[in-house]
């Protein structure tokens, strides 16, 4: 791209940025309209968890989260469809190897803690899944060509686990007459925990497998 075009583009985008800033400023300084926050905060006690973000994610807007898990799964399927993974790296030296053997169990432990703590403080399935995925990335960097993942069939089952459990819970609730993904208050905590556990494993496996970057 020539220099003149680049300059023109820069000026136009600076203008766009100013317009966006002005709009945002106007929208925020204006008297704020009714927001979902009050509705969400009022319903947190009935959602089965006490962390408002988790209750929005897994209860009030569970559809979003279900579809998000489907998006993550679709991305992994796309990566797998592109062919086999490139071979792994050479085995690591003793320093890196011992660090890996220390950090991976710690990451898995921290992932489990994150999953549980999501009920009442910041945390939850995505953070825990990201930690599990990070454990996979570290294993792969340390020389394990499969990033610590099980064999192909098992990987496929684990990767769909999140979406499958989520959908099955939703359908079971619909069959029980509650409506799709409308949890009864008494069971909400355990249903959310079940879904989050499956989602954590699925996200961790998916991220690690995406890092491997090819069909197992």
């Amino acid at each position: 791209m020539s220099r003149d075009w680049s300059l023109l583009l820069g000026m136009l985008l600076a203008l766009l940025a100013c317009v966006l800033l002005w709009v945002l400023h106007g929208a925020l300084m204006d008297q704020p309209g009714p927001r979902l926050a009050d509705l969400a905060a009022a319903n947190v006690p009935y959602s089965g968890v006490s962390n408002p973000v988790t209750s929005v994610l897994l209860n009030f807007r569970a559809y979003d989260t279900l579809l998000e898990l489907a998006v993550v799964l679709a991305a992994l399927l796309g990566i797998w469809a592109l062919g086999p993974a490139v071979p792994g790296f050479q085995p690591s030296g003793p320093v890196l190897a011992s660090m890996v053997s220390w950090i991976v169990p710690l990451l898995i432990l921290a992932g489990g803690y994150m999953l549980w703590v999501g009920g009442h403080a910041p945390g939850g399935a995505f953070q825990a899944g990201a930690l599990l995925g990070a454990a996979g990335v570290i294993l792969r960097l340390g020389g394990d060509p499969r990033a610590g993942l099980p064999d192909e069939t098992m990987q496929r089952w684990l990767a769909v686990a999140g979406t499958a459990v989520f959908t099955l819970v939703g359908l079971a609730l619909a069959a029980a007459g509650e409506g799709f993904l409308t949890y009864p208050t008494d069971w909400a905590k355990w249903l959310i925990l079940l879904i989050e556990t499956a989602a954590t494993i699925a996200i961790g496996v998916t991220l690690a497998a995406a890092y491997v970057g090819g069909r197992p």
Binding site: L20, A37, L57, R61, L207, A210
Partner: protein, 83 residues
């Protein structure tokens, strides 16, 4: 907002795929920051959880989309090398 504008500029003006991807993620980062800031409801009230949940969802989607784009880009590079 500045991050968003910088990201668009970089996305449009650089040719390399990797740079475009990074630029796209910078754009996304700008949007996420705006969302988190919008959740502020004054010093006394707790922040609005809905935008926070949306950002959390968005981050995971952005990561997986980036992974897919990287795999596609690498594959396209391989194909171009073989020709």
């Amino acid at each position: 907002m500045i991050l968003f504008a910088l990201g668009i500029w970089s996305f449009l003006s650089h040719e390399a795929l990797l740079r475009k991807l990074i630029a796209f993620n910078v754009m996304g980062g700008g949007v996420f920051h705006v969302f988190i800031a919008v959740a502020y409801r004054g010093d006394t009230a707790p922040p609005d959880p809905v935008p926070h949940a949306l950002v959390l969802t968005g981050i995971v989607v952005a990561v997986s989309a980036t992974a897919l784009a990287l795999a596609l880009g690498g594959r396209a590079q391989d194909a171009a090398d073989h020709d």
